[in-house]
């Protein structure tokens, strides 16, 4: 019970606005000291933290994180999005809702190559939102489409969310099997999750396109897409560069040629090469990219460092067993437990960041769900979709924040919220679909990697 109290206190303190990572660590520390003074557990329990911390430093899966971040930051600097946009918008030429499809497709292509929400939303927002408004899209539909397209990077592999989820779930899976007395444990890898998320991600893109098709204005005003100042690369080159990167990264992982880390390194090196060849970056901009990437890496890892103490203390109070019993005692078994957890993650997504949810909530509920018989890949894909939704849920969805920052004054904030709503419904629909048809997530990894 004290464990759950700690969770609530942490949430409350988080709202004050002190950096999340330090808040998690600080709150957990005070509760840990309280537990030691009250005699609930002894100080040696807290000393375990050192080996957990080293576990973070030496974690081979997480090496992929800074590499993927570099890839995303460099591609943003190389203005890949602009190129894609100009190349694709020519393709539809004046058809009904042309810009809407372009936005969704560019979002999907960028998703597969960078996976950084902020960059995608800002670029699409600056370049496409004004055009869509002039084409006659309602402000709500236009901004909703841009925000939703920007979040695709979270679920379409390779994505950082899936790397983090893969790491957390693989240890949760191991724990679940050990607790059930299975000692020849099976594993789940980041590659499995990538393969699992591919099909649901594509279904999501199709669903977005369908919604744009249904809701787009009946009589679009033809609008010329402004040409970039510098000569745009040809359509072929604009499409080939990102596709080449995607094929390299994703293909080498799914084909079993490279680990996600190696693929991420190839992707990052490829992105740097691309930026240099296109003369979109010199050594000075590369330094800027590296600094930005270090900042984002530090952000992720400090949360992990703080959350490690949080879960250590949470479990010292017996929180893991409390949650496990709570979920196991629900009538209806796995189904009800899954719905409850999904609902919890969805609600937490209104206030918390996907990284916090991944590092704090998933380690707590993951083993319990897996012990009830959930397939780890299936669970991971649904969690990924759910976390992606948190970028869209007002009032604190990041995609909405970014878009607000670049949207013209004529688009009011409630338009953005209203526009996001249908896409949130689509998200929930797809989560339900994957829940009902687990094969959507599990078939591809099974086919690729067998058993």
């Amino acid at each position: 019970m004290i464990a759950l109290l700690m969770f609530l206190v942490a949430c409350a303190v988080l709202l004050l606005g002190f950096p999340v990572a330090l808040t998690l660590g600080g709150v957990a520390l005070w509760f840990g000291l309280g537990g030691v003074l009250a005699g609930t557990f002894d100080a040696a329990t807290l000393l375990d933290y050192s080996s957990r911390l080293w576990g973070i430093f030496a974690n081979e899966t997480l090496v992929a994180v800074p590499l993927f971040i570099v890839m995303g930051v460099v591609l943003e600097k190389a203005r890949l999005a602009d190129d894609l946009l100009h190349a694709l918008s020519g393709l539809w030429g004046g058809r009904r809702g042309a810009m809407g499809y372009t936005v969704v497709l560019v979002g999907a292509l960028l998703a597969a190559s960078t996976g950084i929400v902020g960059a995608t939303v800002v670029t699409l927002g600056i370049l496409c939102l004004p055009i869509m408004l002039r084409e006659g899209y309602s402000p709500a539909l236009a901004s909703g489409t841009v925000a939703a397209a920007g979040t695709l990077g979270q679920i379409i592999p390779p994505s950082i969310v899936l790397v983090l989820l893969g790491d957390v779930l693989s240890s949760a899976y191991q724990q679940a099997q050990l607790r059930m007395g299975v000692f020849s444990t099976e594993t789940v890898s980041v590659g499995d999750l990538f393969a699992g998320a591919l099909l649901p991600g594509l279904i999501l893109v199709v669903a977005y396109l369908l919604w744009v098709f249904i809701a787009a204005p009946r009589d679009p005003v033809p609008v010329d897409v402004p040409q970039p100042q510098e000569p745009a690369p040809s359509m072929g080159l604009a499409l080939l560069a990102p596709l080449g990167l995607v094929l390299t990264v994703l293909g080498s992982i799914l084909g079993g040629v490279a680990t996600p880390t190696e693929a991420a390194a190839l992707g990052a090196a490829g992105a740097i090469l691309l930026a240099l060849v296109r003369r979109r970056a010199d050594l000075h901009t590369l330094e800027g990219c590296a600094m930005k990437a270090v900042e984002m890496t530090a952000m992720v890892f400090l949360i992990l460092i703080g959350a490690a103490l949080f879960s250590l203390v949470f479990n010292a109070y017996g929180g893991d067993h409390t949650v496990q019993n709570l979920l196991a005692d629900l009538p209806g078994g796995l189904g009800t437990a899954l719905v409850c957890v999904m609902l919890l993650v969805f609600l937490l997504g209104f206030v918390l960041d996907f990284i916090e949810i991944t590092f704090v909530v998933v380690p707590i509920v993951g083993p319990a769900l897996l012990m009830l018989g959930a397939d780890p890949i299936w669970l991971g894909v649904m969690l990924g979709l759910n976390l992606q939704t948190s970028f869209l849920t007002p009032p604190f969805g990041f995609a909405l924040f970014y878009l607000r920052g670049v949207a013209p004054e004529s688009v009011v904030t409630t338009d953005i919220w209203r526009g996001a709503l249908p896409f949130i419904v689509i998200q929930i629909g797809i989560i339900a679909l994957v829940a009902l048809v687990p094969g959507l997530a599990t078939a591809l990894p099974q086919w690729l990697y067998g058993g």
Binding site: L53, L62, A290, V294, P395
Partner: protein, 172 residues
Amino acid sequence: MRALQRGLQWGATLNSATFHIAAVSLLLMVLTCAGLVLVRYGLGLSSIAVQEAVMYLHALVLSLGLAGAWQRDGHVRIDIFYRNWSAQQRRRLNRVGTLLLAVPFAIFVLWSCFDYVQVAWQRQESSAEPGGLAWLWLLKTLMLVFPVQLLLAALWVGWGGDGTARTEETSR
């Protein structure tokens, strides 16, 4: 008072310097890791030592950047209320948070890791793999370096700069 300010500034500069080292390490990490893959599939060569070098660089990237990222206000906040607060309210929150949350946490990390690192030094711990690198003990020392850096950053964020930490232009 002046000396104190200068001390805080010195700490902040040190943190920025290691932040730069982390950035260079990250670029090196990209090159090394990509090179490793290419050489392995191109020439069929592999090296435990180079593989471990990637791990070492990764550890440098993630630990040496932590404090500097805080000084750039790169650590994510739930800014529901924070972003509407005045500079003075933010300063107050940052000071209270620093004293009650960040400083105790950094001291705790130091306390809990001290023995762990000391043992690594005594044994001069090196790689468990044949052909691996011999400086594992040195790498583990990073677990004591970053909390000290966090303490310096905490003091700087609370009392050194304008006490608000930059938000608008730097956060995410």
